[in-house]
Structures are given as structure tokens and as C-alpha cells.
Symmetry: D2
């Protein structure tokens, strides 16, 4: 590829759309900091002791303004950071510019080709002589995937001399991954293994990435410890329940001019995303109907006065459909637009099928992302602090309860909350430590 | 002024930004029709009998897509229509284009100068030989003002030979009005008096216009009957309570990235606008505090669990401020933006002072406007049908209760509602007519 | 009748069930005072100046604990008071005992016969030599009725010598009224006319009584000024909307063991009572359906996400029915209990037809009654203060807006509210007096 | 003790207050059945196959109307049942009478002495020759305790000849337990061991009992399998969240006359009980403030617009306090009544400290208990069906997810819900079995 890395005056590498957008990015970064109290509290609490001193962190996660605040929290704690986006469209170029100019090596722009995307991922992991990163922040698992595939190829090459064959797969993106690895083998046939040796662990942001990690754990192929940030209470409830409750009306109003009050709205699925969407629609004055396969979630909806019906029951009566299931065939694909048959009735479908989560996520406000990203910081700290203790094996872990609680605690000040502290006597009486954890691991919140 | 009227191939006059936007306007008009069931129901119910046959209607009201649906409802009922906007910025040019091409004489574009604005208003009232309109739809009272000032000037001119002196006023806009009238006197010294003679009445859309009308009624200078559409239940509740409840989160999210949940939001005033804003904020998870001068409204807020404090009590603690009072000094003007003192705390002020209503109104969805505009159609019909009966004197009237109820009824079908009908025996028992009105005039809803 | 008036050691007359319950009554009175801040604030504000000094007040209104706090507010302001109940079952005997012992002449007990009831009413109006009361507090209009019928009979008797004939009516209760008047004529043929002469006015508590008053006003037979307390905002909203919202779940749970969450609840009528009931049921997790004849109220329900259907549509599906209409035939009478046809489905009907209001009213908490009764005190003060000014003619009046606002204001302190005060400059700017009234008379709240 | 067992004409043993109340009990049982659809659905689904044929079930659980429906569900499935209450005050005598007469051996009455209580428990476990029950339904663990202590004593007696010494403990209730066991040893020194041998397992209803079971599991002393019903989603959410949301306003209104709307209510703790209480208070119009030690629960409250403060912050301002923590010192004990200092301000404390849960539980409607008790039936069925499979060891188990889901499913029909069924293709796509379980074990709902 004809791409070339650029360097700042201080010598830090980058490749972004337009470095001159850095000032605009900086302004928005400062606005976002106000709404990301968890990250700012991390800087205050941990900054002085520089816990990440000497740590190299590579991140593959949407290069947005919010992510920029995460990156600068990591650097404020002493880390050296390289970053790429985990999606070819999600980079905010002014955010990338500000970070590239001021804080970390960034390889990301809005509208990358797939080849460019993987080139960026490779750059993000490339710390020059001496191997790769100490820690990875991953979203969707592409950085993790590249290392695993790289190690596999190097071992096969050492054993049999065979190099990966891009033509062995029909998946156009995986072709590119294999090409990169094949080409790398020519230069350094132990690059990914050296990377693996150095790597302390990864913290993974999303469901997709987490699913991959559990599959690798199950098949015994996971090469380093992983922390599943996705299932922290302070991540999952915020991204799903509170985030979607916030973002849904916004999305609906921007997409259409429809008055929600008085309409019949169908929410397919009453998990956390569905609960958030249903709450938002109900509060805006819609009559909400839910479809569910799970009788427990159905019963929860009923307890909130929400009717449970099937899609067939409601399709002719409802005005708004929201699918939250990630499943297929919940609604026919051709209905993701206004329909004007002769009857002049219309249907609105928001974010067909599996995309609802993403549709919402893009719209998540900084405060929601602050919860997710503070989990990332805490997870990275945990991996780094325990790197020598043997606490974390080559398995997937959720954050221990007391760290999940810590993420919450870091967000309370901004909201003016004053927490109660147990007395010694009370703590003894109910057998709960003064400093937490306050709930058993299986607690449902 | 160097402006010149243009004509369609069928000979209808217009002056718009760009007639080629008519197709785009038509598309959005069709989308809006689905959400304006009251207007569409008027077409179905009254269209066949062509009640406005022979009627000339002049309208001065924001030339938007929703207004376009109103205009085409008036023409569908047989009226001939001329239109201008009541605000120099509020015209949607594609809406104006579609109407100019297909339905009515339009003189409006986004970004008029004040001179252009009053030229448009004059064109809108100018029906050529034979005087002015039979009916006026007014918003803010500018069309009504021009006629009243014109008549006054003509009478003075007839009596004393004096013409209006634009230099007699400091108000730059009123200078223009006087200039137009002065120049008109040279051509036709009885134009406005002929207009007055023909005019059956005006229906007025907003508080400002209504206030002017009541002042003229009080001072005995009102020249024709006026219907106050603004205070219909189906207008005021929708524009204020339901409209703002719908529009506030939208406006807040577009303006800022702030997460509403968990924040302290102060709503200044708990009238209908305040009630709508407070409901929206509360439902989005904010802790709402209200400031009020009226103890009854304050008690209503308390009954909803909302704290009543003064601005001084909360200014240091709150995150979001919404002023709904139309009063001055509720919040200092310089706070209508994020404030970043050294403490890094921020304040958001939505739509300073008197603009909240307008800010919301712009964002009102079509369904809300359908309620307002169906009141306009019903009011115009009432004036026209009663033109010879003497029912309406030169006074200001609110729509009779049964017509207000009719507006509501026309919106029920779209929402799938099935109304109950009194039996004869029930009607007798509670002394309420089967066809309404169902409530006394002073009923508070 | 064999009833005889008793006297306290201080010589005050009474007839109650059991004076020894006075201590228990006093205890509950003290508890109620905490929840009746409006009445207590009246004592604080007006007590020192003794505005009712010299005034005789007769009251006919449920002799409950809350009414006892009203009575003692009137006496604390200087009035001399006589009281009876306006319903044969509604007296709380311990309340009557406490008042009889400590504060006022009381003639009331739970379970009066109709004869006893009217004997009590007569005693309540009987101030011995020198005629009747100066002021009447009436609930349902029975005290007012007795005087009007008495005056009519005396005038007829004077003119024609005819006395009322109890056999002239089929109404058993009216037979008793005529008997009392007939018997009275023998002793003093101008008793009621002397009463009328002295009487300054009446303040009426309820819809029924108010309706009678307006009928008398219309027919020109009203003998003295009347203030309609029923339609004060602070009375009607509290008795209907907030009162029923509070009392409904209570009544439903006491009457049945039904879980409200998950059930389908039908509310017949969406006026203030219906709005309160629907809100309570919705918030408890029911799916609420409303039946309505009024399209405006129907549209309001729709805007809250509530479905509008007819009774026929829902009768087979719904679990709970609440009728708020005061009309007949809304639901068949035999359904006011659980029904167990072979299908084992059940129906709950709360308070058949017109009784819903009363059913709720009985359960109203003291705070609600404090609002109603503070209106009574303010109305009585207004009548008394204006007795010589001619402000009030023989007509029916609602309380002027600023007094309605005052009632609200007197309840704010207890709820910790801090009202905002207009500055002089703000007051001028929006043309609203600093001390109110803050809204026009027709304002809908 | 001078108590003697009585027998019905069919020879079934019982000891209740008054068998003549059986008809009244039967009537209320029939009413309750309508609100306990889960249990009735069990009868319909499992009754025909008589799965409990040959099974002896002993139950120690509040002998109420709802429990009576549980008992008759067990007998309808073929079980033979003996029952006692798990609390000396909680028996409803008419429920006990109906069951004793018609369905099962009952030993329970309201107001037992502690001696009588344990005599009843002994009777409940005493199935005559051939040992004890096959299954136990336990609430609080007293039946389980008696067997464990009995076995321990028998083993010690066999080893050393020593008998339990009631004087060895200060706990007056445990003295009684030891006395019963000591006296039993004289008659049959292997009674409890024979019981243990026969016993298939226990299903435990509450936190307290579950806690004891986990302690025994940990110390290795648990003698038979146990199913923890308490932590089923369909049990815990209903008993805590939905049950308390329903019961709190009821309890508050019965206890006091306070208007909730407008008051400041403090809820100590925002777990499921606190969430239910806060929701109920908020919806009734209170301004709710929460105190919390757990930052995650605190953040959840904030996301609902609820302020987080400490008790010290609010004690002077709040009107209502609800403690849900089970902890001590949350509020001083002397405040569980109205307080009337000279300021005339009052405090209401509902159910001091640890009793809130119980206070609420007593008031739980039948529908809530239907969820709990259907878990019991399903748990008993699971134990009985798997008695020979070795699936359950001497450990504590929660119900497998698919059975928890089944409990929910059995309640949907009554509420008119129509569940969606996955197609084969959808099931494959998202890797979720068509018949469930639909969620991973750790899912938080």
C-alpha cells in the first residue's frame, strides 16, 4: 500500500485526515471532559502516582471525541499510547487530529478502505524494535484477532514452511488479514510471538469481541488474559438501558417528524435495550406494545403495564417499530421506511434488526461513554498492576465487583450524590465490608 | 423596491426563492399529510360541499411544510388563497415553491429584509380590482395591523389631507409600514377602507396577535370580527404542553451532548410550557426543580413531586436551566451558553427568556400543528358561514366549545380511538347534548 | 320527636353519640392538624385580629375529624359555631364529641334516621332569640334548602293561610322537611324570614349544592349571596385529580386482594376524577383503557399513551372497571362484585356509577380536605368582610382568583416550597401584579 | 404438653383453632385462586399425570389463604401433605380450617406459644410408622433445622450416650428444640436418621433459610439436597420489587392519613425492595431521596432522577422514612411513630429496620405469592422427578433458568399476554433454543 506514516515535530507517528482540525477537536474534547467525570476522576486519583509509567497501550476503538478523552486519561496516568479505529466510518477526524498532535500516535480517518483499516491496525500494534504493546484496549476484537492469527501462522511456518494463503478464504476482509500476516512473515517470522510474549492482557469493549474471546477460551487457544468490560454493570446498563432510553427519542425525532405521543409503538425484545426504548417511548406518550420470546422479560413488561403481543397481532395497528433483538426476520427488511399504500398508513422502522444497538450507541452521550471507558481504564490498571502476580491466567474475566462499584463511585460526584458509609458496627452486623463489594457476584440490580 | 411579481403558466402570481424546489416540497408535503389528520379529515368532510367557494383568503403565517398542508386544505374546500410568511426567517423555500406552483399565490422566502417582508404582506392582501380578501388567517397580527393603520391614515388624509410621516416613529419596522401606507395613498386613497368593507373577519394564531386584538377591542378600534384561535384547548394544550414535552429533549440533545438522566434541571415557570418541559425532563431521568411566582402552579408542581425553589437557591447546584416565563431577568443574559470557570462546572440555558415558546414552536411536529391549523380551518369556516347572520360583531371571540371539541374529534381516528356515544336516556339524565358541547366554557381540562 | 338537646357544663348545646370519646377525638384532631397546613396558617394569620368576632356560623357538613379542624379554625378566628352533618352516616362520633366538649354546638352522630337528620339541621340553624346564623357553611345545600322552603311557606301562609302539606310529595325526605316547616309555622310564622334577613351569605362545598344554587339564581329565587367553593382550582383539582389519584389504590386494595400491576383497567371518563384514577392505575402497573364521550378529554388520554375504546370493546378483556362519570348505564348494576361464570374470569367494579366521587371523597386524606376547607374559611371571611359593601348580590360567585391563589399559598410552607417574587420591573414588564392574581380567570391550569 | 391431635371423619389429623371457619376459608380460597394463575396452571398441566403420587410432603410455611392454594396444588398433583406455620402469628385460622377439613393435615393457629409452635412442627414431620416426609417445603428453615439437630443428637447419643441439655443454651427457643429432641430420643433413638434417609430434599422460601442452608453446605453438614427458591428471578423480583411497589402505598395509607403527594420521602437502600418503594412513592407524587452505601445502586437511583444524600442531610427536612436495608442504626428506634416536638413537625417511620421486608410481605397480594409458590411447586417436582438420577447432591441449588422461565410462562395467560416463538431458523441464528433457556445464568434482568 502506498500509505506512509507521518510524524509530529516531536517525532510521534500518525496518519490522520487533517491535522489542522486539531484545535476544533481540542475544543470539543474540553466540552466532553465535563460530561465524562469518571475519566476525569481517574486522572485526579491516579495521575500523581503515574501507574502506567513504562506501559505501552495499543487501542483499537472508534476514534471519537469521547475516545480521545479516554486516550488522554491513559497518557495522564503515564502510558504511551498508539491508536486506531475499529470501524472504517466511525472516526471523527477532528478528534483524531487533536490526539495525533497532542497526545498519542493515531492511525485513523473517516472512510478508510478495508486495506487502509488493517494497515492502521498493524501500525497501532507496531511499537518498533522490542515488540508490541504491553496492553490492548480492543473493541470487537480485531487487534486481538490479528495477533492470534499472526502467532498461528508463524508457528505453522516454523513447522511446515507454509505461509497463509489469502485465496483459502471467501471472506474479503479475512483475505486482507492473511495477506498482511503473509507479508510480515518475510520480514520477521517471530513478530507476533514476540508480541504475545510481551502482552500482559486485553480489555474488550463489546459483545462481539467478548463472544470471540469466550470461544477462544473454550477451545484453549486464548494467548493472554482478557477482561470482559462489556458485562460490567456500569457498562452494560449504561450502554443498553440508560443509553438507549436517552438516545431513542433523539434518533426518532431526527429521522422523522413524527409525534410520539398518541402513537402505538412496538418494541421487539424487552432486554436492557428494549427496556430503555420502551421506557423512553412510554414516557413520551406512546402506547407501547412489546414482543418477547422470554417469559420472564415478558412478565416484567406486563408489570409495567405494557401489553405483550406477537408481531402478527400488531403489524396492522402500530405506527412505530423498534427492533432490539439482534435477530433476523423480526420484521421484513423492506419496511425500514415509510410505507404509503393506498390506505395512506405508514410504518417507521428504526434501525432494522441487529443494528439498533449500534444505531443507539453512536448516539450515546459522553456520560454513557464515560462509564464504559472508566471500566476500560480500571481494567487496564488491574491487568497492569497484577501483571506479575499470576492473578490472571489465559482466560476471560469480568471486572471484580469492587472495581465495577468503583467505576460507579467515580461518577457520583458530578451528579452531586452523597454516599452513605457503613459504620464498623453496621458492617459487622450485615457482614458487608465497609469498602465493598456490597453485593454478591450474581446480584441482578 | 425593485421586486417584481412572477406568474405561473396558469397566471397565478408568486415570488419565491426557487420554484424548482417544488418537487421536493411536494414530497415532504405528502409525508406531513400523514401526521396532520385533522386537516385531512376536514378535506374529507367539507371538501365535497366546497364551503369556501367564492371566498378569498389571505394568510400571514410561517410559510412551512405544515402551513402548506393548511393552505391546500383551504383550497380543497373551495377557497382562493394568497399567502406570505409572518417572519423573515421562517419560510421553508421548498414548501413555498410547491404551493406557488400548485395551489396558491405565495410571496415568501427565507431571509427577507424588512422591506421585502412588508412588500410580501402587501402583495398577500392585494387581490387586485375589487378590494382585498374576504378572510384573513393571521399570526402575530401584521396583516391586521396593516389594514388598521391603512384605514386610520386614509381617514386622517380625507379629514385633514395629512399623510403618515415615517419619521414620526423611532421603530424601524413601523417606519416601513408608514412608508407603504403613505405611498399607497397616492394611488388609491380608499384601498384599505374598501378592504375593511369586504372583510368578514380574521382568525389569529398566537398570543401576541391576540393581545393586540383585545387591546383594539377595548379601545373600540377593532374594525372586523376576530376569532382567537390561540386559546382553544386543542391549540393551547398542543402548542404548549404536548408540543414542548415532545420538542424539549430533541432541542436539548441537538444543542448539546448532555445526558439528561442524573442532572439537576431547573424549569422557570410551571404553566403549560413549563409543565411540558418539566414532564419531559423528569421522564428522561433529570431531577427537576421549578421556580414559580404563582402559588397554584407551585402547588401543582409539588403534587408531582417537584421541588419549588428560587433561582438563587439552585443556581450553584443545577446543570440545566429552561426559562418558560416570557419574563426578563429570570436568568442573566450572558448565561445562554456553556460556562467554564476554573471549577469546570457548566450551565446550559435553553432559549433565553421569551424565546422558549418560539424555540419550541419551530420544533413542533406536524401532529401538533395539525391541531392548531384545524382550529384555523374551523374558525375560517365559522366566520364565513356566519358572515350574514350577524352572529359575530367587531369583537374578539374564542371558538365555541363544540368546535374546539370538533377539532379534537378530527384527530382521533388517526390514533385509533373509539369514542363513546351517549344514549338519549343518558344524555337526558346528565343534561349533556349527545353531540356536545360536553363541558362548560370554564372547564379546566 | 323525643330527642332532647344536652348542655355542657359551660352551657353550650349539643347532641352527640358519646361525649366520653372526646379525648380520642382530640388526639386524632391534633394528628390531623399537622396535615392541614392551610387551616393552621389561617389561624396564625387571622387569629390575632379575630375577624369573625360577633359572627354566628352554622355549618352542615360531614362531622369528621377534618371538619373538626375547620370548625376550630372558625372559632379561633372569633366565630361562634353550630354544626350538623350533611349525611346520616358520615359523622365520626369521636370528632363530634371533641368539638361538642371543647369548641362548638354539635348535633350529629353516625347512623341518624332521616327524622333525626333534619332535627339536627334545624338545631344547627337555631340560634335562639334573635334569629339565625350570620353565615352558613353548606355541603349539598340542605341548610340552604330549609331556609328557602321555610321562607316560601311563611310567605304563602301569610298570603293564603295555607300550610305545607307533607302528603303533597312522594319524596320521603321532602315529606320530613315540609313537616318540620309546617310545625314551625305554629310557633313562629316569621322564623325563616328573620333568618334570611340576618344572613350574610352561604359558602357551598359540592357540585350538587352548587347546581341547586345556580338553578335558584336562574329562577330568581336565591335569597342571599352564595360563594361556590366547589369550583376553586384549589378545591376541584384537589378533591378530584389529586384526591382520587391518592385514594384509588387504597380503596382498590382494601376492597380486594388484586395485584394492580399487569391488569387491564378501564376508567370510564377522563375528567379530573378519571385523570386521577387513570394516573394511579397506570403508575401501579396496570394497562389503562379509557372510555370517553368528549373528544378533547379523549385526545388528552391519548397524549398520555392511554387507549380510547368503548365499553363494548373491552368488557370481555378487562379486569378492573372504574366509573367516574356520574352517569347511568355505564356498567350494568349487577357487576359491582366479582363474577365467576364458568370461565372463572372475574370483574371488579369500584363504586358503581355516581358514587365514585363520594367513595373517593370519604377516603380523602386530611391534606386534600385542608385545601377544600381553607377555601371555606376564605369564602366565609370574604362574605363577612364585605357584608356591608354591597360587593355580593343575591347571586352565586366563585372565589376571586387572588383568594384561590391565597389558599394555595397557605399550603406551600408545609411542603417546604419557596416561591419566587416578581420584582417591580418584572411586574411592570409582563403586566402582572406582584401580589397576583397571576392568571386570567379562564386559565386552565 | 397437653395438646392432642384431632381427626376428621375421614381420619386425617389436624389441630386448628376452629374447624367451623372452613366454609369462610373455602370462599376466600376460591377468590385467591383467580389471582394465583401459576398454581392453577400447574394443576391443569400436571394434575392429570399425578406426578406426586406416593409422595409425602411436609410444609412449614405461613398457613394463609395463599398457602392453602399452594397446598391444594400439591394435593391436586397427587401428594399427601402435612403442614404447619413457620411463624406463631401468621396463620389465618379460616385458611387452616378449610385445608384441615378438605385437603391436608394441618397443625397451625394464630397465636401459638413457642412450645405449641414446635409441637406443630414435630407433628408436621411425623408421618407415623415408616419415617418422615419425602419432601419438605420450608420457610425460614425450622423444619430443616429440627431434622439436622435431631440427627446430630442421635449420633452423639449413639456414640457417647449423652442427650441434649436444654440448659446448655441461653436462647429460649432453642431450649425448646433441644427438649423436644431429648424427649424424642427416649422413644425412638433413630427417628431423625430414618427421616433423613427417606428425605429427597427441601425447597426453601426465604433469605434467612437460604443463608442457613449455604452455611451448612459450606461446613459440610447439609444432610440432603436443597433448592433455593428465594433467588429465582420470578420469586425475588416479585417479592421485593413488584410486591413492595404494590404494598407500600397501601401500608402507608392504612397506617397514617398522610397525603404522599408533595411530601419528601427518604428510602434507605435502593436494592429491589428500595426500588419498589421508591417507585411507588415517586409515582404517588412524593419527592424521593435515597440513601445508599453501594455506588452502583446509587447511580441507578440518580438515573431515575432521584437524589442521593445521607440520612444526616435529610433528617430535618423529610416527612416519610422507609428503611429497606435490614441493617441497624439506619434510623433511631424511637422514631417509628409520629413525633411532635414544639415545632409540630412529624416523622413517619414505616417498619423499623429489618422488618420492612416482612411488613411488606404480609401485605403481598395473591398474584405475588403465586409467583413464589409456583417456584415451590416446580422445585418440589424437580426434586421428586430427579430423586433417583443423582442430579442433586447434598448441596444448595437455584432452580435452573428454564424452570424459572416456566414459572413466568405459567402467569402470562391470566394477563392476556401472547408470547413470540422463535422459528427454527431464528433459533439457529442466535444460538438460543426454541424452548429456552433464553438467557445466560448471570443475566441481570
Amino acid at each position: 500500500m502506498a500509505l506512509s506514516v507521518e510524524k509530529t515535530s516531536s517525532g510521534r507517528e500518525y496518519k490522520v485526515k487533517d491535522l489542522s482540525q486539531a484545535d476544533f477537536g481540542r475544543l470539543e474534547l474540553e466540552l466532553a471532559e465535563v460530561e465524562m467525570p469518571g475519566l476525569m476522576a481517574c486522572r485526579t486519583e491516579f495521575g500523581p502516582s503515574q501507574p502506567f509509567k513504562g506501559a505501552r497501550i495499543s487501542g483499537s476503538l472508534h476514534m471519537t471525541i469521547q475516545t480521545a478523552v479516554l486516550i488522554e486519561t491513559l497518557t495522564a496516568l503515564g502510558a504511551e499510547v498508539r491508536w486506531c479505529s475499529c470501524n472504517i466510518f466511525s472516526t471523527q477526524d477532528h478528534a483524531a487530529a487533536a490526539i495525533a498532535r497532542d497526545s498519542a500516535a493515531v492511525f485513523a480517518w473517516k472512510g478508510e478502505t478495508l486495506e487502509e483499516y488493517w494497515w492502521c491496525t498493524e501500525r497501532c500494534l507496531d511499537w518498533g524494535v522490542g515488540g508490541g504493546p504491553d496492553l490492548i484496549v480492543d473493541d470487537g476484537g480485531d487487534a486481538t484477532l490479528l495477533i492470534h492469527e499472526g502467532v498461528k501462522a508463524e508457528e505453522e511456518f516454523e513447522k511446515s514452511g507454509k505461509v497463509p494463503d489469502p485465496e483459502s478464504t471467501d471472506n474479503p476482509e479475512f483475505k486482507i488479514v492473511l495477506t498482511i500476516i503473509r507479508d510480515g512473515l518475510k520480514t520477521d517470522a517471530s513478530k507476533y510471538r514476540k508480541m504475545k510474549e510481551r502482552l500482559v492482557g486485553v480489555s474488550e469493549e463489546t459483545t462481539t469481541g467478548v463472544k470471540r474471546l469466550y470461544q477462544m477460551q473454550e477451545s484453549g487457544t486464548l494467548l493472554f488474559p482478557a477482561i470482559n468490560v462489556n458485562d460490567s454493570v456500569t457498562k452494560s446498563k449504561f450502554d443498553n438501558l440508560y443509553g438507549c432510553r436517552h438516545s431513542l427519542p433523539d434518533g426518532l425525532m431526527r429521522a422523522t417528524d413524527v409525534m410520539i405521543a398518541g402513537k402505538v409503538a412496538v418494541v421487539c425484545g424487552y432486554g436492557d435495550v428494549g427496556k430503555g426504548c420502551a421506557a423512553a417511548l412510554k414516557q413520551a406518550g406512546a402506547r407501547v406494545i412489546v414482543t418477547e420470546i422470554d417469559p420472564i422479560c415478558a412478565l416484567q413488561a406486563l408489570m409495567e403495564g405494557i401489553q405483550i403481543l406477537t408481531l402478527e397481532d400488531v403489524v396492522s395497528e402500530a405506527d412505530i417499530f423498534v427492533t432490539t433483538t439482534g435477530n433476523k426476520d423480526t420484521i421484513k427488511p423492506q419496511t425500514d421506511r415509510w410505507v404509503f399504500p393506498e390506505t395512506k398508513t405508514g410504518i417507521i422502522v428504526l434501525a432494522e434488526g441487529r443494528l439498533m444497538n449500534l444505531g443507539c450507541a453512536t448516539g450515546h452521550p459522553s456520560f454513557v461513554m464515560s462509564c464504559s471507558f472508566t471500566n476500560q481504564v480500571i481494567a487496564q490498571l488491574e491487568l497492569w498492576n497484577e501483571k506479575a502476580s499470576g492473578k490472571y491466567e489465559k482466560k476471560v474475566y469480568v471486572l471484580p465487583k469492587h472495581l465495577d462499584e468503583k467505576v460507579a463511585a467515580l461518577h457520583l460526584g458530578k451528579l452531586g450524590a452523597r454516599l452513605t458509609k457503613l459504620t464498623k458496627s453496621q458492617s459487622d452486623y450485615i457482614s458487608i465490608p465497609i469498602e465493598g463489594p456490597y453485593k454478591p457476584a450474581a446480584y441482578r440490580y
